[in-house]
Structure formats: C-alpha cells, structure tokens
Symmetry: D2
Subunit: 138 residues, 4 copies
C-alpha cells in the first residue's frame, strides 16, 4: 500500500497492552475503526454526519495479519484506504507501521444500513463521490 | 461487608491484563457493572427489564480502593450489595476477593433516568421492594 | 462446524456494547481468546501452564465474518475447535451462536514462541497429543 | 481546578461508547491514565523512563463523579494536575470538559513500587523536582 493516502497517527495506550507486554490483538480493531472515522471526517460531516442522516455503517468482515508486536507508547501510523465501494458495501485496507516497519496488515468489509429498519441501504452518493475523488488523488 | 449476600464469580480474562502483568484497574469497573446486572437478574426481568420499561440506570459516582493486584486467570468473587435506595438514586458496594483475600473495595452511585427525556425518575416500586427484601434476608 | 466439540457459553456484557446498541465487533476477539483459554484448560495446566513453562502463544492472524449482531445480555455459545497443529503453529475455528442461530464465524492463527527469546518454538508434545485426542473424540 | 495547568485533548472513540449511546464510565479511567502519561512525558523520559529505571507506578485509589455524559466523537479536554507527592505516593486530579462544560471530576492515588520486588519505593528525586516546578508554574 502506498504511503500517499490517508494516515492516522496514534500512540499505544497502556490500557491497550496485555500481560505479554504488547498491545492486545483486539486493540488493532479499535485503531482501524478510529482510522475509518478520521478518514471519513474529511468529507462533509463524516461518520457522525452519516449517523445523523440515519445511516449506520456495520462491520461485516475483518481480517488482520499480525507481523510484529506493538508496545506501550509506540507511535504508530495506520495507512488507510477505501479499496472498494459498491452499492451498500465498502471495504477498507490498513497497514500498521512503526518507524516505517510494518507491524500488521488488515482489511475490513462494511455495509451501510438504514438506522431504523437495519436493512441495507446504498452508500450516499455524496460520500461515494468524495471517497472516489480522494482515492483517485492518493 | 458480610459474605451472606449476593456474589458474582468471574475469571480474569487475558485481554483484561496489562503490561504490568496484572488486571488493568479499569477492568474492575466492568466487573462491578456485571455484578450489578447479575444482582438485578434475580428480580422480575432485572436490568434488561428495567431498560425495556424505558428506565435507564446511569452511573453518577464510583470509588475503588485497590489493595492487591489480580492476575490473569485468577478466580475472583465480587461480593455485592445494594446499600442505599432512595428516590431516583441507589448505591452499590463491592468487595473483590481471591481465595478469601481482599483485592479491592469499592462503591458506586447510580440514578434512574427516563430513557427518553433523560430526567431522573424514581426507582420502580417493584424493584425497591425486591431489593429491600433481598438485602434484609442477606 | 459440528456441535460435538468444545463450547464456551458467555453473556454479552453491557461494557461490550456500543452506541449502535450491539456488541462491538472487537469484543468477539476477546471472546475467542477466552474460548481458546477455556479449551486449553482441560489439558494439564492449560494456557497458564504453557506460560509457566516459558512458552507464549502469539496471535498471527484473525478473520471474522459477522452475520448478525449480538446484543446486551444475549447468551452466546462459542463453538471452538483446534483445526490445525503443526510445528510452532496452530489454528482455531469458531462459530458464535445464539439459540442455534449463527451470529459470526471466525478463525485465528497462532504461534508458540519462547517467552524469553520470542523465537518460534514447537507446541509442547503433551499439548499436541492432548489436543489431537480431544479433536479426534469430538 | 484552574485551566493554566496541563491538559490532554482527546476524541471519544466509537468503541468507547455503550448501548446507552454515551461513553462508557470505565473509559474515563483509561483517559485519566493517558492524561497522566502525557503529563509525565514532559519530564526526562516520562512514564516510559520510569519503567525503564525499574520503577512501576501502581494505582491504589480512584474516584470519579460523572456530571454529564460524553458522546461519540466529542472533543474532550482533560485538565490534569499532580496534587500531592510524598514518599512513594502521588495523587492526580482531573476535570473532563467539553466546550468549557464539566462532564466529570476525578482524582486518583498512586504509589511507586520497585518493578522486581513490588515493594514501595520513593518517587525518584528528579521527578519530584520536575513535577513540583511544573505545578508551581501552573
């Protein structure tokens, strides 16, 4: 994944570590979610705007490959891109890096649903356009 | 606190430990919440019933004194009692024990609110009676 | 996955829910870890014994497909089996069910490492034998 | 608490919310810990340096008064000061604010212990001096 796209920087919290002295593997999913939210923040209201429009984004799949452990207080970069966007579905890809070294690679699949009926609903057109333009530029 | 009242047993999860090799101090709040829910489960629908009646229980205060660390896979007993119940407010007290040894002592203050208006609402009479009877018996 | 193998029952904690009113998708990884630990508990010291022998189990991959949401206080069954065991590596498969309905399917890859050098080390022979026998019986 | 001292800004993560649609009350403890770590980062190696010197900081007490709920994506300010420092013990005070409005007030008590023996050990002199100077300036 090229480094020209969106990236989130974060610091590993002490509460995210476990008794192996490393960041717990479930913490990565929280970081990816935070990265998606920051990714979307650049567009007209972002994730919060999506929710206020009555659209919820659900997580349908997640895959992570853990390459090297992250430690307390490590400064991480989460390279994040939206790699697919079709109908109600979208997909994100992530690379977790520390000083240029890859700690994990991951992707997650999502679907937009109507906040009331919970039935699938298309990703709003304004968001499709904004993301398509952003990924084309990256 | 006497050992004749309600108690929850639980096992420290690996994800609840931190890089000091002990259960993270925030995990205790999750255990206390779980203990309150199990405490209330004995009464007519319990916490879930309360929520279905449109009443939410909020947490207004919490205090914990940590005496000894808990470790991964430790089998803990959370002694739990409802020590006060007045109008919209109620209070729980806890002792965390491992093999009879005290690891922590704590209490938490709560208030019932209407799930829609979020304004304080009295603890439902059926619950006041059930808890009062249970604590008198303990 | 057949229902004759190991299964863990657990109740969704309130702290595991999110503002969508469902169990957060990262909570599933914590449940799978708990399921692995309970799975191993049946064998001679289990995961704790492994750690006391100086062997750490690391997580190298995880995949989850979320089919239906889990809610607060849902009683879940995590069907769990060890589907592969070779050298330092092993793999678990999971199905999360509620009243016989599948909520999620998942698998995770792991490797044993020496707790001091963090270099890969074979899964101890006693554990290979115990797991192989247990899975053959299931 | 005056606003002239140290403050940490953070954004409420989606994973930190619960089914009441607000930040879970245990998340505040994680934020306070993060605030302490950032507070100490200004001084010669900070918390990480403390750990590398073989000194662990343990949490012995925590108290939180929750005034108003925090929501997903809220931008919070954690006003943080070290209010006491004596022998092995120290104490922090916190105010959680959103747009100048107080959401919570809290304090926590801590003790330094030797990382190996786990016996109390004095807060290192360099840290006492640095904190005393910083608090006098605030």
């Amino acid at each position: 994944m090229e480094g020209t796209g969106f990236q989130l920087e974060l610091t590993v919290r002490f509460a995210e570590t476990d008794a192996q002295g490393i960041a717990h593997h479930a913490a990565f999913l929280v970081w990816f979610e935070t990265a998606r939210i920051e990714y979307l923040r650049r567009f007209d209201g972002g994730y919060r705007g999506l929710r206020e429009q009555g659209v919820e984004a659900t997580t349908s799949e997640v895959y992570v490959r853990y390459v090297r452990p992250a430690h307390f207080d490590d400064r991480l970069v989460i390279q994040t891109r939206c790699s697919e966007l079709r109908g109600a579905r979208f997909r994100f890809e992530y690379t977790v890096e520390r000083d240029g070294e890859t700690l994990a690679e991951a992707w997650s699949g999502h679907a937009c649903v109507d906040g009331k009926t919970l039935r699938p609903t298309r990703v709003p057109a304004w968001l499709v356009e904004a993301i398509t333009a952003a990924e084309a530029a990256a």
